[in-house]
Symmetry: C2
């Protein structure tokens, strides 16, 4: 198990910056005054495919040798990683194969199809997904790009904090959401190896607090059908992301569903930007822990903006 370093993230950035947007950092005086600190929102909701996932996917796809790339890439996902991988593959001009559960929302299916991926439908269980992916791998010879248990993916995700620290000086704290831990790991490596005095936390839904418990107990807990609105954070850590989090994290902050919706609404109403529930989790963590953030310059990575506007929690 090789852990990436800051240097690996800098190298990844040479690739990522050619394909991904350098997203804006937004601020809001009214939210600052409500929450009592100075917040800097790194807006990956404006990233290609509407989520930071395009950073990791593009880095992974463009890191393949020509021989590997020719056979394409594959993954199982019903979320942002599937769309990101499909788009990155389309840009490189190689095939992508996505295994999706039969209950995936048709809107997500269409998005992935729109990027030119070939979709394989399976039963909505973890076992069926893995079995079908194995079959696709053997049939096509495609390279499996895991959404976070992947060196190049983690390096790609770390480039969001690279841009943020480059643009905003003197940040004292940084917060991301944590699901599988790819974004949190990349952020931890880049930030702590740049300036170990910057505190780095993750926000996590209380109803899916496997990462919090895994860090506390030093063992990997699976995430079993967690009931949270933050649909991007229902996965569990892997050995690679857990070891990075153990090495560097200042803490994981669980938040309630009610507070996630309140934070999401605050950002929508005050900043006029659309963020998905997962992105509201770090904002909720600031609301819940004023003693940690009061008066500080706090960076927040807004992970994405993909919501079904016909199914809002307001």
């Amino acid at each position: 198990m090789i852990i990436p370093s800051k240097r690996n993230i800098e190298l990844a950035y040479q690739t990522v910056k050619r394909y991904a947007h350098c997203t804006p950092v937004l601020t809001s005086q009214s939210i600052n005054s409500i929450l009592g600190c100075e917040l800097f929102f790194k807006c990956e909701n404006f990233q290609k495919v509407g989520a930071f996932k395009f950073r990791g996917a593009s880095n992974a796809v463009f890191s393949l040798s020509n021989a590997q790339a020719l056979k394409g890439v594959c993954t199982h996902s019903s979320g942002n990683h599937a769309a990101a991988l499909a788009l990155a593959a389309a840009i490189r001009g190689i095939p992508s194969y996505i295994v999706m559960p039969s209950n995936a929302p048709s809107i997500k299916r269409k998005a992935v199809e729109g990027y030119g991926a070939k979709i394989f439908t399976c039963k909505p269980t973890q076992e069926a997904r893995e079995k079908e992916l194995e079959r696709v791998k053997i049939e096509t010879g495609a390279t499996f790009i895991h959404p976070y248990e992947n060196f190049e993916v983690i390096c790609g995700q770390g480039t969001a904090s690279l841009e943020l620290l480059d643009e905003v000086k003197d940040l004292q704290t940084l917060i991301t959401p944590v699901g599988g831990g790819g974004l949190f790991s990349g952020t931890l490596i880049y930030t702590k190896e740049t300036n170990p005095h910057i505190e780095v936390y993750a926000g996590e839904p209380q109803n899916a607090d496997d990462a919090f418990r895994s860090l506390r107990d030093g063992t990997l807990y699976p995430s079993i059908n967690p009931n949270t609105i933050a649909d991007g954070l229902r996965t569990s850590l892997c050995p690679l992301t857990l070891s990075i989090i153990q090495k560097y994290a200042d803490g994981i902050l669980p938040v309630s569903e009610e507070l996630i919706v309140k934070a999401m609404r605050l950002v929508w109403e005050r900043m006029k930007i659309i963020i998905e529930p997962s992105s509201a989790v770090p904002v909720a963590a600031v609301m819940l822990n004023p003693e940690k953030f009061n008066g500080k310059r706090v960076g927040i990575i807004i992970s994405g903006g993909n919501v079904d506007v016909e199914n809002l929690p307001f």
Copy 2:
């Protein structure tokens, strides 16, 4: 009736830029490819109070003499102009008095109160509003700042196009929404007196097409309880705005309610920004008139982002 000139807008900008945000210009590759032209969105939804109205209100408030200002400002409005005027007055440290109909949404009432205005409630008729305003004016000696029938307000609204033309070169067309005509007038003056070859249109709800008919027939038609989701565009032109529109406009483009909602959803989903229905009207106009905009560089002024997230049309 004195019509402002480009020079007046430039002078207004010396005031406005001290208090208002220079809002970003955003673009979207996916919307460009769907609509077949290159769109530049001037995002006044990110302006203070969430709407361009703060430009005109701040220019009007800071143009008053100290003697006038001491007695405060007043207006009747249940929308963005009320909030903008209240904030501008609060910044100058003078009182503001807002006449609001009894059926104004409580969320808007609270926003205006939050900026420190004193609110007077009246019956929800035009007559009651004007009568109550007259009473307030006499009682307080405050200066009435009309939302668009006001020289300084029109100059302030024109500063959005000043910033847009300064940032984006070689625009061929520009579109705003039209309600009372303040934003459209200011945009027309600044744009046409900078470069008469730039075509300037307004989008207007078909269900509230009084400006379209007024321009066509050369006479002022009132707007009587129009039934449109674009709540910022229910007002009618005044002599001042009609004469500016007659002098400079290339046309007013009516659009259906259905298309307004479709355009609003397109921007929400693709750009991840929150725009109010009135702001979707120019986007709908581009959708409806591809022959006018195909292949062109088109500026759109996104007028505001104040929506009630509990009452969305999706």
